[in-house]
């Protein structure tokens, strides 16, 4: 009985891996030196009990094993020589930078999220930046390009391919993906290293919007592409 279970599991594994390889093989191989993993808002506010968005994201984060996948992605990417870029968000205490009181910014203002120099905006311990990583400065809005030096640094370093991971799938991740596509990057979205406020929104975004502006892949599929 145990044998049968094992066989079925192995069969599923093989099926999974061959699917992954197949999906990945349609895409061109890319060079590690021209590639970056862009980590959006892996901060306590998002991922740890007490964080203002923790409860909201928890169901999808847990179900898809997002934090463990992120740790795995980053470790293997560093080994391959891919640059890791951290893009945290924060606001000055008085949140003067948020402006208009509607949409995502209005929400941030109303709950007082992402205050600078607090526990909340610290990057989670599991992903503490190491020497060689790049910290992108300036993020005050959904698009990781719009208010930061991300584009400048990517160009200066000669990076052409970016793999986007983080939160929230249909908010910051999606805005960043759209902006990266528009700027001519070869864009990959990490389907198992992103999370939305519900699985329905996660699934819709991955299925309907990711393919229009990126190559949606699991982090394992993505890593197979990098030489």
């Amino acid at each position: 009985m145990k044998k049968t279970t094992l066989c079925v599991l192995m069969g599923l594994c093989l099926l999974f891996f061959s699917t992954a390889v197949f999906a990945a093989e349609k895409l061109e191989k890319i060079k590690a030196s021209e590639t970056a993993v862009v980590l959006i808002e892996f901060q306590n506010e998002m991922l740890k009990p007490g964080g203002k968005n923790y409860e909201w994201l928890k169901p999808v984060v847990d179900k898809n094993n997002v934090l463990a996948n992120a740790v795995d992605l980053v470790a293997k990417a560093r080994e391959k020589g891919i640059t890791i870029m951290h893009v945290p968000i924060w606001y000055a205490t008085d949140v003067c930078e948020v402006g208009k009181a509607y949409g995502v910014g209005g929400y941030v203002k109303s709950v007082g999220a992402f205050k600078k120099n607090t526990w909340n905006t610290k990057i989670v311990d599991e992903l503490t930046p190491v020497k060689g990583d790049v910290i992108i400065e300036g993020k005050r809005a959904p698009d990781a390009f719009g208010s930061t030096n991300l584009d400048f640094v990517l160009r200066a370093m000669g990076i052409k391919n970016i793999a986007i991971a983080g939160f929230v799938t249909n908010i910051c991740v999606e805005s960043t993906m759209r902006s990266a596509y528009e700027r001519g990057y070869n864009v990959f979205t990490m389907t198992d290293v992103t999370a939305a406020g519900s699985q329905a929104v996660q699934d819709f975004t991955v299925k309907e919007n990711f393919p229009n502006f990126s190559h949606p892949l699991t982090h394992d599929e993505f890593l197979l592409l990098v030489q």
Copy 2:
């Protein structure tokens, strides 16, 4: 019997109008001189038989009466002194500008859509630009800001509020909305003057993504806000 029907209809009308007014009244009034309607890709390729995206968009365009609503929006906006901006898309014959062969650009390349100086990229007769309208130049990608002079012209004219209408709801319209929000505009999305490839995608986008980056309104609700 006819009386009853009339009463019900009047009741529904009142209900509709009071809802609209209520929704609109929560928002601040805006000045016509600081407001623009941004029309994205009202071109034959999208809206007329023979256009390469006509069949794809037809169900939602028809169901929501999008072209008639656009004509109504533009006529009433002009009367109020709101600036009308047309943002057509086109590519040189050899489509050299599209670049990467994936996502939306890959689709455009593969079907040869939006060729410059053809019937396909002509703005539909119903919305032919008139004196006083502005034609935005340069669009080669989803975001109406990314490759055009839209932001420059809006700033030069002192415009703060923009109402976005056009195609495709979850592609160009959504990218433009996200980019406009990021740039600090007071953004309105016209729920009845936009269309996606299916009603399900239209509904999801309006419900889940529009409110994060804009005030989603019908064109009648929007016009009520403008002084």
Copy 3:
């Protein structure tokens, strides 16, 4: 005799002030709440003995009394309710972000200037930011807009008028002025709160390039415009 001298001096003073007032009166008055002073690189690297650009800038800084003028501008601007924005520059220790080894960036790389978290990149004590000031993050290149959240914050705060001060007149100050003009701001350049590597370059830039993209004024003339 002393009386005569005094009279002449008073006459010159009057002449000077009336000229200033005259120059300023041709321009429209502006609102403090819509105005920011943008301070570019008032850091030890530029202004204090031991800073890598100190000797280079010293002659013009001293001759034009730039640091004292900056302190005066900032104090009076704060009193009037004008927002003060600090735009420091820095690089990670390994200067990975600089990219190409030519031009201004090549110079920075070769001398190892502006290293993050050092005395060199600290804002000078005379201009330490206070509560209410905004620190603009991300600057890695000459234009204070190009790699920062400056444009985002200005838009979010509804600021239309900016007065640019700092270093170097024909490098970062000029790039920022050109970029601000392009983005539709009402741009003022502070002729007595900027310094170049020589008086000849300072004079040429103020005379030939500032008027094409800004209103060049002394800081006193600028302050007279703000209500």
Copy 4:
């Protein structure tokens, strides 16, 4: 006697060429497929009798043989497989897009220069675009990147190196050079295919500002670098 003159001339030629080669050899060779020549405002308004800026630019245009050099640059660049990009400027008849009435835009507004669909904004006959050239759309302001699809098209085509030529040396050419440098391009400025309003301004700009943001070269020196 004639022989002596010939010898002297040959000597000067050799000297010139060896200098050019020397200057060029310090720089890395570049690939034609990754290179574009960006032609700024080679329009009748600038270069032909009757054009509003003709008289102003004539002395430097004539002295430096700018139009003949441009024709030579373009012909040889096309032969090598370098992409030619034309960046004309124009405004709608009512010049609504210019905005603020100061600086360069104020001048354009006051003299009514660069009106769309007139002889004035036509590209000069000597440089009429041919198949394979790219026309950049949208230019309404000095920087050829700020209000156009230039950056989008360069990225989409994978172009890394740009050689900037045209008018006016310290206005549009310089703003474009600064913006290109900021965006990470390998920037070349054509010292003998640009013109300012006076030789003094031309010389200052080439000597003091071009080297901070580009490799200033004659068009012959530039062509030697391209493989």
